[in-house]
Symmetry: C2
Subunit: 341 residues, 2 copies
DNA sequence: TAGTATCTTGTAAGCGTTTACACGGAAACG
DNA sequence: CGTTTCCGTGTAAACGCTTACAAGATACTA
């Protein structure tokens, strides 16, 4: 309020204003016991009058919480992170936490440096979006008992605390849906296969074929990298086969758009001549024409759940927080049709 | 490296390891003069050996930089912030700064509380994405001489340091393009009109009509709110007019998608029966079918430019940093056609 | 070669909090 | 009514760093 510009009220100013000691002010600010109600009120008034806001740096240096959690991302590229971020944001806001955003741009080295600074006081906990296999610095987090949660990471060892989606089941469901529509020659465009989620989706596809007595044809599987151009290329390749597929399952929506483009290029109508199903259910999926049938991955919810888990862990490091796999769901829109006979 | 779990090396540990005093270590860490080269090397080695990373909290408490800048956003809703964020991230990474993300969810009260905590040591500077008119707390930033830059804010007073886009010119260009294609009855769907960018786009539209001797017809202007459903509603309304428009200019891309939907609902083909032009050029614009012709707003560049301005301001508070308006550009895709006669 | 300026380093103080501890007074107990 | 317990508050120390300031070593000047 009435402070000279540049000079901001400290806990001492509040103490003087309220006629108590700084220790008492701290106790009030932290909702500690052993403070007389009138004193508490007086302090609160002084806080209001001075417009006092505690310095978080000092607070966390002195051993308190920083009320900040870190989020480590590869990048802001896909539109995939945005949705997770939204979930995290929602949950953090409710808990009165702030968010520190770190993007690594896929540089391994940077990641571990980040993890270093983050754990040195910057944040109370860490969320990592790590679709690939666990890097070494997780060890240091573990031994240091620093609270962290992995998002979208399906590590082999059950030791990691993570939240992910049922990629395998989703892949199975997508394939099963197409089979249910009568399709037998079903193309598959993979994601980047060093990511667990990509291999899981492929696994689901193969399993569904198996369960339905359809033999696996390697020709129908085309490698992609989760980006649109690779979808286009894959689409073109699959449609040029001597015996092209009547339906294609794309490991994500963005590549599905590429496949759509390739089909249109060839003069094929969707879904009349070719059924397409995607994975993720990003916002665009319902904006394209025809609207894309896809497997919904609950990204926002993953963000929310992970955040809740992390906050729980921060509150009680011994808490029994276990990995969670959230279910995917089939979203039927307009890009698939029963096989014409 | 070899620290007991939970105990992290401090500057004192480094000093002991290197056989110098902690003051010297600090000097080395901050690249100060007056350190003998051999000493510097010895300290750096000790730093490496111990895997030391400075505690940012302590550092900024003691008067140094926090190497953090804050970003205040309304929310992560539109896909619009993502792109700005990407630009910011790029620039920050280069400058070795970290990002603190604050979302207000449009709650005025929260904003000013945030600004309070941010300026109390949390960050060295602040970026605000503020399409609406400048709120009161900016005054406190100003008197406190805290470095900040506004993004996408076209305030009246030239006092604010901000970076924005040429919304008026963009609106003009879009309209002019449609007129050039022969269209005379051109619908317009507004954005939320309490935002400067929305009124500017409308202004550009009117100006272009004027310049071409086309009289302004209020019936052709329909209020929207930048979200897809309002585009749909607007599209339906415009197309139901006794004399419907042959082209529509939407104040942003997302609403344009809604208009497309409305047109399809009515059995109209795009661009055959109706030309549509958007504004923003978000990622989806090139994914829909037909691909959307639109006015590109250089969001990522806005983020980058604003960040550079802010960093400059942090480095030298007296720097002559002036507001910047970045040009928009017409991106021609497939959603507009010359008027059929 | 004495005197001064410059380099190099160490030490102390302080940034704004929290937390452990101390101490007087009120309440509870026998 | 003396003793014990708990309550309410103040004070000191610590968190890990930066930045004056001091002081010894070294280089430069006349």
């Amino acid at each position: 309020m009435n402070d000279t510009p540049g000079n901001v009220a400290t806990i001492f100013d509040v103490a003087r204003e309220a006629g108590v000691s700084y220790g008492t002010v701290s106790r009030v600010l932290n909702n500690r016991d052993h403070v007389k109600p009138e004193t508490r009120a007086a302090v609160m008034q002084a806080v209001d009058r001075l417009g006092f806001v505690a310095n978080q740096q000092a607070r966390s240096l002195a051993g308190g919480r920083s009320q900040v959690i870190g989020l480590l991302l590869h990048g802001l590229n896909t539109g995939y992170s945005d949705e997770i971020l939204r979930g995290i944001d929602t949950e953090l806001e409710a808990a009165n936490y702030d968010l520190m955003l770190y993007t690594t741009h896929r540089r391994k080295l940077k990641e571990s440096a980040y993890v270093g600074t983050i754990t040195r006081g910057m944040a109370d906990g860490l969320l990592l979006v790590l679709p690939r296999n666990s890097p070494a610095y997780l060890d240091s987090l573990r031994t240091r008992e620093f609270p962290y949660i992995l998002i979208d990471h399906q590590g082999r060892g059950g030791t990691e605390r993570s939240v992910g989606a049922a990629n395998r089941q989703g892949g199975y469901d997508a394939t099963q849906y197409l089979i249910g529509l009568g399709h037998r020659r079903i193309g598959f465009v993979t994601g980047t296969l060093d990511l667990a989620c990509a291999t899981d989706r492929l696994g689901g596809y193969r399993r569904a074929l198996d369960d339905n007595g359809i033999s696996f044809d390697p020709q129908l599987v085309f490698p992609g990298d989760f980006l649109q151009p690779s979808g286009f290329i894959a689409g073109r390749a699959l449609l040029s086969l001597p015996q092209p597929p009547t339906a294609v399952f794309s490991s994500n929506d963005v590549m599905a758009f590429g496949i759509m483009e390739a089909a249109r290029d060839r003069g094929l109508s969707i879904p009349g001549d070719l059924s397409i199903i995607g994975f993720d259910d990003i916002a665009q999926a319902s904006l394209v024409y025809p609207q894309l049938t896809t497997i919904r991955q609950p990204l926002e919810e993953m963000g929310r759940v992970a955040t809740r888990m992390l906050l729980e862990l921060i509150a009680d490091p011994q808490a029994d927080v276990r990995s969670v796999t959230l279910p995917t769901s089939l979203v039927v829109r307009g890009s698939c049709l029963p096989l014409r006979t």
